[in-house]
Amino acid sequence: MLELIFPPAFILILGAFLIGPIRAPLRPLIVLGTPLLTLYAIWQMGDGIQLTAQFLNYEIQLIESSPLRRLFATIFAIMAFVGGLFAFRQAKWWELAAAQAYAAGAIGVSFAGDLITMFLFWELMAIFSTVVVWCGGTEGARKAGIRYAIMHLVGGVLLKIGIEGVMVHTGSIEIQPIPLTNIDGWLILIGVLINAAAPPLSAWLADAYPESSPSGSVFLSAFTTKTAVLALILLFPGQQILIWIGLYMIFYGIIYALLENDMRRILAYSIVNQVGFMVCGIGIGTEMAINGASAHAFAHIIYKALLLMSAGSVLYMTGRRKCSELGGLYHSMPLTALCGIIGALAISAFPFTSGFISKSMISQSAADQHLMMVWLLLLAASAGVFLHAGIKFPWFVFFQKDSGLRPKDPPWNMRAAMVLLAAACILLGIFPEWLYRLLPYPVDYVPYTASHLLTQLQLLLFSGLAFFALLPLMRRTLTISLDFDWVYRRLILSLMNRLICLLSCLNTALRNASNRVFSIIWTYIGRHHGPEGMLARTWPTGSVVTWVVVLLTVFLLFSIY
């Protein structure tokens, strides 16, 4: 009964503590062993509340399990393992430790039975994901990490105020659907949405993730946004507003990825795009839609990690990250290219990949609810995913022009991690029931019909035609694209500079004015009391004696009369 007294998240936290002090040769054992142990613990737990504790006079539920929670915890533990495999020989030990603590936060949120526990693990994620960003080791990573931390701490504060509001107003800290009837609900929603990279505060993701190390971005892509998706499913299922937020995220991701030159930033924008599909599904809120969002989160974590591993391998072997400096690598890095292409096909929902069996459930749920506009936009978005991630990423990195670079495939552990995930993408595509069995609701959906296969192939292949036909419009430029972060990185900064300038001008003016006034007063005083002043003049003794005589005479005269 080890599992009952020992929450799965604590296994990873213990691992994170051990990675540093333990002898280096034993480190891989911890890095790879603890996620597997965690996975075992996750699957040993029954449903319902498993462990409670006392915290600040509240009874908190450290572990509440359900199929939905188990699904997310499972994929988080798998990612901690495969990410560890990808990273353990190249990354610094403190990055590995931070990544395990980060994964622990994600798994802790998955099983949190109440809002307090959720918040504590939520902040654990915020702290250690910042450390993972910092492990990029560059000046850019340091600055991006600080911006990332500020954004998540702000989100955390909003979330905390919201949670306290709910506690005060309802007296309950249960995790259950929260109505958006007062400010509490809205604050919690905003706090969660910041972690989901929803507009307008979505720039942190594309800002920070590409600055991390080759392995860091793999960890970062998996946990933060997907725990936010889980929190949205648990707290705000069927909130209509999420449909439109999700659609905005979808198209924001596509457009910004089309403009982008940094290969990992393309993939970062595409995370926002994919999370948009999930958020939209949660907004639709039917059993099919929630199943779709959950399945898509599971599938997405796998293929996005695969894509980032492929990009990370290219970065690790070449030291370059810009599409304009890459190209033609398929020849010397065949395995990396193949795995990248499989990930790209999966994210595009190509038939017989994991994306095909998960994303289509969200579209289907929109059609079932007769949301024609939403369905059409999702369809256009599916085409757009192939455009910005499915073709653009592999084309510009592995094909395009010959950059003259001849890097080899990366070391064995990185290759092994990629092969594992590539296999998972294809196996889930061929055997969808493996994933469907784990979903929160019974699945009444058949992905492989002739009609669905045909329309999907038409859609994707003609998107491909559009890509190659319009390739001249997508010439890579050495640019970034302004986003909302411009407001806090430039606008507020320049306003503050202007304010400081204004204040210093005011200061100078006041100083000058006061100097003038003081100098006038000074001259006046000086005239009377200065060395030459009338009142400060030294008088001769004779005249004083004369005046004393006059005074005494006057006094004498007064006393006589």
Binding site: M474, S481, R490
Partner: protein, 91 residues
């Protein structure tokens, strides 16, 4: 379209980069595209809303929506693109 890069040290370029093969690639791609549309004559497509079952609807919709997104991104790029060292002097 990338045939301007010269071969490295006289080594022959790989098949994909030889200009004479570009035409073959486009023909192959075109045939696959045509096939996916023609097959619809034999496989009935069940639309959810009626119009989406039209002949070649997905193909046309995919192409047009992508073209629209590319053009929109291009136009937005004029407004939003900055040199990639734009933020480098951040404090």
């Amino acid at each position: 379209m990338n045939n301007r890069d010269s071969a490295q040290n006289g080594v022959q370029k790989s098949w994909l980069y030889r200009p004479e093969n570009h035409k073959k690639l486009w023909w192959g791609f075109g045939l696959i595209l045509a096939a996916t549309v023609v097959v619809q004559l034999f496989v009935p497509v069940h639309g959810h809303f009626g119009f989406d079952g039209w002949f070649g609807f997905s193909a046309a919709f995919g192409f047009l929506s992508c073209a629209l997104m590319v053009v929109f991104a291009k136009l937005l790029g004029y407004l939003l693109k900055r040199p990639d060292n734009y933020y480098d002097d951040d404090a």
